[in-house]
Amino acid sequence: MAFINLQNVTYKYPLTKTPVLQNINLQVNEGEFIAVVGPNGAGKSTLCYTLAGFVPHFFKGEISGSVEVAGRESSKSTLDEWVRNVGLAFQNPFNQISGAKYTVFEEIAFGLENNGVPREEIKPRVEEALSLTDISDLADRSPYSLSGGQQQRVALTSILVMRPKLLVLDEPTSQMDPIGTREVFGVVRKMAEGGMTVVMVEHKMEWIAQFADRVIALQDGKILLEGKPNELLTSDLLSENGFGISRYTSTAREAKKQGLWKSEKLPVTLDEAAEGFKP
């Protein structure tokens, strides 16, 4: 039995004319790390909201098909039950700060307080989460005084500390520098290895190829392709449909036309490219 099971999910927001998700079927196993790619407007954020329960419980609108996570059906649960299993962090970090807390440490404790975690347990759990994402040095700062990239780390940590079974991340690194981005991918990979299931929307192909188990390519609310990162991310279909692709892939594709790339498979990461271009 799959951990996430979406069957024929179609969804329309209250004020839009056409469905944003159309007939989505998706099965994900426990502990799998799924990356979702696609152009803006493909329905990536809506898919995240659906997995996290906010579609339809928060946004209303019309949904059909079934959404199942950890053996429970979304339509038969309430939102507050649902978020106990599923954590969500999204793109704009500023709007994810609760506004009720004075320091980063307290901000991260917010979710644990809400869920009634005993005081003795809160402190060590926050400390552990802070060190996991490497922001222990920010603990006493005001969340508002941080840079966008740092705020994104705080948003991620605020969710990780709650130890959700399913972690849903919508472009969690958009404001981070390259080195910060790679670190976050590393942390997420580690969580997946510890048994957390992860669905992450991202544009950064190089790191997806290195860290994710499987990739879903969304377009116009439908799943266009689904597969192993290095197969899917090098597919001609992606570049033809305006998806972002790694420079290694596009360069090797061009090199192939000029007879400079011999291998059948195209590269996504630096190592793959270096291997293939080696004389």
């Binding site: 906010f54 106990r84 709007n95 009720a100 004075y102 979710g111 809400n114 005081r119 005084s145």
Partner: protein, 259 residues
Amino acid sequence: MHERLSYYVKRDSALHRLNPLTKIILALSIVLVSIVSPWYWTAHILLLLVIVPLSFAGRVSREYFTSAIRLILPAAGFIFLMQAFFQPIGNTVIFKYLFLDVTQESLSFAFRISTRIAVMISAFTLFLLTTHPSELMSDLTRRGLPPQFAYVIISTLQILPQMQAKAQTIIAAQRSRGLDTESTFFKRAGSVVPLVGPLVFGSLVEVEERAIAIEARGFTSKSIKTSLHEIPDSLSDKIIRWVLILLVLLSIALKIWLS
């Protein structure tokens, strides 16, 4: 970038260590007594002999005096002028300005009212300066206030500095597009839409996203909430609260008895 988007100043003082509810009651009592007391000089005495010493006891006198100059003085001054000129009481005219008479009575009334305003703002400024917003929220929720309600209070306390920061960015963006915000009043009046429009729209998006973010972190969870910090609520807190309530009742009784 603002370092703190909240008025709270983290320090260790007797005032900081009081329970948040005690501090709310303290602020309210000061305000109530200054209003109902029949004696003319009550508000002035409260300001000098209670508020100012409290700001020292709370080790926030510097912050208090800054806000006194920036906010309290202008507000009280404005009320004073309005009342002195427009309060149609008394016959002892001290001076005339155009068709307006300033009488000894209106002057004395204005002095009393404006001091009350100063006391009111001061009491809540001291409360905000020394009360940790999330401790206030936890304490109120623990006492049975619905968390949504408590959250509205807390986030409203924080929203002003936040809006200010956002407004500054918007002003910078529009000035960069040639919007003249520095010249005449009429030009400035015309620049309201470009400044307020993005602020309002941004706030709408922000409210929706923030609702999602806190909901995702179990805000409406049915469990009994816990709190990271232990919130002090000692015997002396309870005593102080009862004494304050008694004092307020006493002033009300005095007022009724004398009238």
